[in-house]
Symmetry: C2
Subunit: 423 residues, 2 copies
């Protein structure tokens, strides 16, 4: 395979891997095809060996312990795993729970926030946020009642937020809800500064940290963030559709009510009382019975990050995205690729987005012909995700060579323009 030849770039990349303190972590993941360049860990993280093992254990628990498992550990999983995620996102142990999907959690927290700010009529977000977060925020507005609206502040270039974003936080702003690291460009908001601005306006601040959790240090509590949601199947390597997490700042927990009051959020779930009484603290934000197999399987991925340390993960992520940008500048820009991620590493998450008019067909050719799996987002964003626990510099070098070759040799011509995306 042409991309396996030992070019000087490949040798240099291998040298970078050889002296990397995190390199041994790659062996903790299932790498079934060592030739595959997987640059989509920002969409679905790889399978940790320990997650496969843990899942087999939970199957054995189900088969042997049956219903008794609920009191022997299953019931405590949302809280116990939440304690671990709290360490990744800079929260206290009693401020994070695993539950439901990111969207359902966003709905719960934003309805709760709106009901707690009855006099304020606006929710502010921006168009760098996940579109699905905007759908959920509108749904939350409808469910919270009152005449409220969502203001979506447009980004001037689709990469950086509007310089006027914080001006939109005003006296009628109930809630500011943003993606911490944005899914297209990887632009990463300054959490503390934006949160402070929201608070100056008297608004509550909610962060979706799906694209930053596990990739860079997050300090929710230190930043004063009120609410957060995030996903466990990206950099947390929790498995496809793993239950999401939610964060509520301790001081707010008893002031907010779960709008989907369910049995697990009750003060006493097994009393089966006719009237709902919320549990004190964060547990009130649980609703139904959690999917135990998927929940338990998420723990080893979180453990690996804690073992590696998020600061070290971040250092390698920066080195790897800097590497990609340098290679783009030298090798890909001349071929028509544009850089659609911030140059400033401080403001960049763990992926690098390249634009190209043939982005869709390039992505297909990469996966199909070059054994390189990037992530594609309409209209022309090729996202190269770096998951430092298993992504190697060699993979990045091979990925860059493949991107160059697909354009240089017009390999994308063989593919239709009609799209078919993946999550």
């Amino acid at each position: 395979m042409k991309t396996r030849s030992d070019t000087p770039d490949l040798e240099a990349a291998r040298a970078l891997d050889a002296r990397d303190a995190l390199a041994p972590f790659r062996a903790r993941f299932v790498i079934s095809d060592p030739d595959l360049v997987y640059l989509d860990g920002n969409s679905l993280g790889r399978l940790p060996h320990a997650a496969a093992e843990r899942t087999r254990e939970v199957l054995a628990e189900w088969g042997e312990g049956l219903i008794g498992n609920w009191n022997a550990g299953w019931m405590d999983l949302p809280r116990r795993l939440g304690e671990k995620v709290a360490l990744l996102v800079g929260a206290d142990a009693d401020e994070v729970l695993l539950a439901d999907s990111t969207s359902v959690n966003l709905f719960k927290l934003s309805v709760a926030a709106l009901r707690a700010r009855p006099g304020r009529r606006t929710v502010v977000s921006d168009d760098l946020n996940f579109p699905s977060d905007l759908y959920v925020l509108r749904a939350a507005l409808a469910a919270a009642g009152g005449q409220r609206r969502l203001r979506v502040i447009p980004s001037p270039d689709g990469i950086l937020p509007s310089p006027d974003l914080q001006d939109a936080f005003q006296a009628d702003t109930a809630l500011v809800a943003l993606s911490h690291t944005t899914f297209k460009s990887a632009y990463t908001h300054h959490m503390a500064a934006v949160t402070a601005a929201a608070h100056r306006a008297g608004a509550l601040m909610l962060w979706d940290v799906s694209h930053s959790a596990g990739a860079l240090p997050i300090r929710l509590r230190e930043a004063g963030a009120d609410l957060a949601v995030g996903c466990c199947y990206k950099y947390l390597n929790g498995g496809p559709g793993a239950p999401a997490f939610l964060y509520v700042r301790r001081e707010l927990q008893n002031a907010l009510d779960n709008p989907i009051a369910g049995w697990l959020g009750c003060e006493d779930p097994f009393r089966f009382a006719p009237e709902y009484a919320p549990a004190p603290g964060l547990r009130r934000f649980l609703t139904g019975t959690p999917p135990v197999l998927s929940l338990a399987a998420a723990e080893p991925g979180i453990d690996l990050l804690l073992e590696a340390g998020v600061e070290r993960v971040r250092a390698r992520s920066v080195a790897q995205t800097e590497y990609l940008i340098a290679r783009w500048e030298r090798d890909l820009q001349p071929l028509g690729y544009t850089l659609k991620s911030p140059r400033d590493a401080e403001r960049r998450g763990s992926h690098v987005t390249l634009g190209h008019p043939e982005g869709l067909r390039i992505s297909r050719a990469l996966a199909d012909r070059m054994r390189v799996v990037p992530d594609f987002r309409l209209p022309d964003n090729i996202r190269l995700g770096v998951a430092p626990l298993y992504t190697t510099f060699e993979e990045l070098a091979r990925g860059v060579e493949a991107l160059a070759r697909v354009v240089r040799e017009r390999l994308y011509d063989a593919y239709p323009r009609e799209r078919r995306g993946v999550t």
Copy 2:
């Protein structure tokens, strides 16, 4: 162990098992302790061997196919498994989806129903319904807006519904929401008659079939039911916290909107459009990314029921609950046990509830001393769940003998009155 001695009752029970057409299905489940009498399949069904196998396959898919799995089958799981559940609940293939938890699905469907009936001010349920369903219905009332209230019609005896239940369906009733088989007594509403009464009042009818699905034939479509939700971890043997299902009658699907609009319910999830446009048909009721491990693991349990046939399952269930009631009458009534399930098999689901003033302590002694696992619900309900795919008459005979012995020898005296329940 005393209960293993070959009493004439045990021999008779074994003879019943020996001539039972469904008896071979027990071998399709993991039975790690053949001496354990497990009468809690109405709370957590046993592990099918094929579910363990399927879970291992999905782990391999995750490890090897990575993100590509979404287009290679994962994305279709909610619909494809829904088609199978549809066969169990008498719905058409395009009327059932797997998603979220039962509570979240109940919230989604009841908010949608209330918004579709803006002029009507009442939701009617009864106190035989799951308390958590009542919590969710109240939450749905708050989210749907308008000044509405929940009327909970009390049962006169906690076993049968009020004879006046249907009188409560009036011109201002937006929605009637009931458990088909009720969790305490196993009383099973006459689905077609109650649905017809709701419709005569102009209300929509929602059934929670969590305690009947997989245990008895359900004919949602034939009954004219508008909406239904149900759980996959009881008689469907889908695994702890397996994703739940939801049913929306086809004719209503495009008239209702998902109140938690999310990306998977979009017309085109991968377009990432800034504005939500619902998918045509039932898919709009999806919200976030499903927990794939838990979802995929639910399929084999459903397949086993389809292979056995729900009519045959029901026939054995009736025979087994009748057996329990006959044994209660002869052996347990004299010891102070009361029957808290309907005598009429037509109106009884797949568990038999016995009351006893020492119910809680008896349950603990059964599990602890006699290796019999019943299910306990406050204040004094000992539920004996019959899951005909694996419950044997021998288990029932041994269970009855244990119930008798615990009271006869006051074995429960060793246990504290302070409770600690399981789901």
